[in-house]
């Protein structure tokens, strides 16, 4: 949609995308990512937060070709090119799942559960699918 890329409103808001679900079982992870990519054209201040099962979205070695799904996980690596550089992952969510930063396919900032509220409070719009 070309018209999306011509937003001239000028206003800059802080958007937080909260990701809480596993990829593939439902479409939400993919469609959250698509919103972030489209949103990048609006020159807003974008952060992504991965908590609960959302941390699985960043798991290395995803191979959804096994179930004939597109492998969109590599797109998280391309987020930098869209100036989306603030990726936050909650430590407790990783730990409960037996995961560590080494299991993730991108560099992230790991934060504690008790820091999540402060992050949310810094943003104007919270989108969680």
């Amino acid at each position: 949609m070309m018209e999306d890329e011509e937003y001239q409103g000028g206003e800059v808001k802080k958007f937080l995308y909260v990701n809480r679900r596993l990829p593939h079982g439902t479409v939400y992870a993919l469609e959250s990512l698509e919103t972030v990519l489209i949103g990048a054209a609006f020159d807003q201040d974008v952060s992504m937060l991965f908590i609960d099962d959302g941390v699985y979205q960043l798991k290395k070695d995803q191979a959804p070709e096994s179930i004939e799904f597109k492998n969109f996980s590599k797109t998280y690596r391309a987020l930098e090119m869209y100036d989306v550089e603030k990726l936050f992952v909650e430590r407790e969510s990783l730990e409960e799942r037996g995961l560590s930063e080494d299991d993730l396919l991108v560099d992230v900032e790991v934060i504690a559960s008790k820091e999540v509220k402060a992050l949310i409070d810094q943003n104007d719009v919270v989108l969680s699918f």
Binding site: M1, E3, E5, G9, E31, E34, G39, F42, V125, L127
Partner: protein, 130 residues
Amino acid sequence: MKLAVLINEGPYQHQASDSAYQFVTAALAAGHEVMRVFFYHDGVNNGTRLTTPPQDDRHIQRRWSALADEHKLDLVLCVAACQRRGLVDEGEMKRNSKDAHNIADGFRISGLGQLVEAGIEADRLVTFGD
């Protein structure tokens, strides 16, 4: 205040579209502006004119169309979600070589950018889903 609403589920299966409808109705009654209702994911299924719910049940699509008509609401269906789920207007029908369209009065199909724009321009964005 200027509000925007996001609906992520289709009609009847989940309460999301019902809750959003009641919320929008109440917001309008309180004198607020609802600048856009954006339908994403299965939410786009709210926009088909081909439903025939039981006569003693609510008609979710017609209720939205009537509200849009009365209050000049902007009901936007996400184009990518529409393509995955079979929601089609005349333009999409031609572009994708389909032989029918099914979009209801008062709805339009547009890009995901309309959701981001709603997030920017509205004072509050409220999401309804599963």
